[in-house]
């Protein structure tokens, strides 16, 4: 199934476009305009001559130009006829955002639109979905206004989900993270395009560096597992699967009519295939950001912790030692000697290296200069608490500079409100992943190491 015309269309028809701002079709059209979409845009509405400043058409059949994508936002019972018209008009791809299909028992209606798509060789995403977003080509079929749901910048992380609500929530969260989005695909009931088609597309997509997926059910388990087996060789895959418990599995079935299968069996296979397993929504972001930013593969499991807060260093040591595969590095004798020459008197020369509360960018720089030469250190966690007197813009800049030159995995922990958040965003936009708790940081490094080891085994 060729999804490229859907994600980078030269022309888009919005069927159900409307002058009424309460209509989904209005919001979708407006979002295309707001996003600065540069292709051709055709509103389709049986009853309107114009929608906003654009000429409107009674049917896609009246447009008379090639249509790469038709976004359909009309009541479910009217969808089959409109899809037939799309087929006749040689529309390449279709997104049905409307609900009212299998999720409320209307399986016959859903099968009908799938058959129409297959007959006309149209790629179909949906129904009952949010659709797609691609900030590079300024494609945005979401029917949620931008003030409610932030739109991410261009980046390397792609996200796929059946669930529109989980999808929109993740998208909103990504919008306040520095790492940016490649593709977003919310595919709802998956009447035609399903996990297999979408994963296949994202594996092939050169702008996608990391694939993040939220799964409820898997429609074609055999094909999906066959594809999954080789997927993580191409790029990191982070997965959150709902239906971990019997209660969750029952709820997932009621939500998307999806059979969620045996959770543990799936997880065991996913692990074997090199997938990174998330336990919660927040994990998806924690893992995506380290996998997207980390150019250096992890070559060992010994972590150096540098901190300007003693207690935070202790918690980071606990968090590192609590993972299944990381440990605290033991500094070499040369390192300790060099540290003693350079470091403030209050510091102990042990790992975690406590630079004390008044450490500034220069003291951090000295410490990293020394530790990056230590062969006992494989990875860095830099605790930078911006509440302290010495931590400011210069520290954020210095850490980003080291991140880009150090040649070993490096992440930061910065926890706090407004002042901290602004520095976090700055560091993340420049490629340094920042975590808001010791345990999330340690978990992320642990998963990076697992993926690095998977890649080494598969080389």
């Amino acid at each position: 199934m060729n999804l490229e015309p859907m994600l980078a269309p030269r022309s888009v028809a919005v069927i159900g476009a409307s002058n009424n701002p309460d209509k989904v079709g209005h919001v979708i059209l407006q979002n295309y305009i707001d996003a600065g979409y540069e292709g051709k845009l055709f509103p389709v509405n049986k009853n309107a001559e114009r929608i906003g400043n654009l000429e409107s058409f009674k049917s896609v059949l009246d447009i008379g130009e090639d249509i790469d994508l038709a976004v359909i936002a009309i009541p479910a019972p009217l969808v089959p006829q409109v899809m037939e018209e799309c087929g006749k008009a040689k529309v390449k791809t279709v997104i049905v955002v409307s609900g009212g299909f299998a999720e409320i028992g209307e399986t016959a209606l859903e099968e009908k639109i799938a058959r129409i798509a297959i007959k006309h060789k149209m790629a179909l995403v949906g129904p009952n979905c949010l659709g797609v977003m691609n900030p590079r080509s300024r494609v945005d079929t979401l029917f949620l206004p931008t003030y409610k749901l932030g739109r991410p910048t261009v980046g390397g992380v792609s996200f796929m989900a059946q669930s529109g609500a989980v999808g929109s929530t993740i998208l909103d969260l990504i919008s306040s993270e520095g790492f940016g989005l490649s593709k977003f695909i919310s595919y709802g009931n998956a009447a035609y395009a399903d996990e297999v088609d979408i994963l296949e597309y994202l594996i092939a997509d050169k702008d996608t560096k990391v694939i993040v997926m939220y799964l409820e059910g898997i429609k074609r388990p055999k094909e999906f597992l066959e594809l999954a087996r080789r997927a993580a060789k191409a790029k990191p895959i982070v997965v959150l699967k709902a239906g971990k418990t019997a209660e969750g599995a029952a709820a997932a079935h009621s939500h998307t009519a999806a059979l969620s299968g045996n959770y543990e069996t799936h997880m065991a296979l996913f692990r074997q295939f090199g997938f990174t397993i998330a336990d919660d929504l927040s994990d998806l972001l924690y893992y995506a950001k380290i996998l997207a930013s980390e150019s250096a593969a992890a070559t060992g499991n010994r972590v150096a912790v540098i901190t300007n807060g003693g207690g935070a260093g202790v918690l980071a040591a606990d968090a590192v030692a609590s993972t299944s595969n990381l440990k605290l590095a033991e500094f070499s004798a040369e390192t300790v000697k060099a540290l003693k020459k350079t470091m403030p008197i209050l510091s102990s020369m042990r790992n975690p290296l406590d630079l004390a509360g008044d450490a500034n960018y220069a003291i951090y720089g000295n410490a990293i200069d020394i530790l990056q030469k230590d062969k006992n250190v494989d990875m860095f966690i830099i605790v930078a608490l911006f509440q302290t007197p010495g931590a400011d813009d210069r520290l954020a800049n210095e850490l980003v500079r080291y991140k880009n030159s150090i040649g070993k995995p490096m992440i930061a922990i910065s926890i706090g409100a407004a002042y901290t958040q602004s520095h976090k965003t700055m560091m993340e936009s420049a490629g340094l992943p920042v975590y808001d708790s010791p345990s999330s940081a340690a978990k992320a490094l642990s998963e990076l190491l697992k993926y690095s080891e998977y890649k080494r085994r598969r080389r």
Copy 2:
């Protein structure tokens, strides 16, 4: 040890106050002024006649008025003499923020200041600490400027920590939460006032509804455990203890010269004493906010989940079923019948109750009206995703209204960026705890139930 004059002083001397804005003593004095402290403020500096607009004194002995609190921010070797002067001047309480004592091996110097405090019957907090904050009496000895570290509003949660960095980080985080602060005490090396004295004070403090503590070591384990045994009967206690792993315990020792003791033994006792155990910094906030806001005790473990996002409902079901003590409620036949009459056609009438993406405040209201009558429901998780079309200020208001009338524990899950955050803050300020992930919400309800059961057993 009477800490009341320290937390609600009628007069404060700042020893080491300075006109130089880079000095800690300058920041402390300025923070008192900025906070609008209404008691008497006396800068003490050997070399200055005036500090800002205030008359300055060469020594506390020159002030000639009752001093409730002296905050000492001068180099460590000078502290003993100044403390002797405080003793002679009948100063009631002293905070030594200066470092340079036991944490760098200067134990004799630390013992010396402890002896001086004991001799003169002065309460002493520190050395090597941030000091205290009490937004009610506008006491703020922190030497971190307000633009770097937000100051919380007045509330019912008190926080105690040895570590200044962990303390300031938590304080900064609390500043962006709605629940507010009662007392903050960072006690550093605990030369005199230690865990026992501070916990005792907070148990007796009528403005403190919930006590949150970050512990590295415990100085007097026997006395502490004796006190801890009866502490949670008085009010909920949330504890995060560092040194869970051997690596963390070693780092804690190096940080505050604290012997952290056996982590598992302590945790087993704390659990038995009814403490709420946090595993990470973020847990401290998650648990504090539910324990501070929840007027209704949990009387059972059956949770109803209401959601405007199907996927988020599924994840909430998984999260509830993954706790050790909660389960999803099964709606009664009357409930299902009533829901069928009222709910939108797209909803399933099961738990989690999916109101679909366009649910507005009125639909939520109908659902809660029906479910609150169901005897099979003990607690409520309301998933309110503000990215969706129907969720707005009216929904936030409606949920707060129900929270204050429903008579059963109720929390919300709202996940997202700016628009969501503003609604979260509004709901939390009005007493409805809001969580940013299904698992943190379920963990919080689970801990509330454990505490309610502990209280019932102890009645």
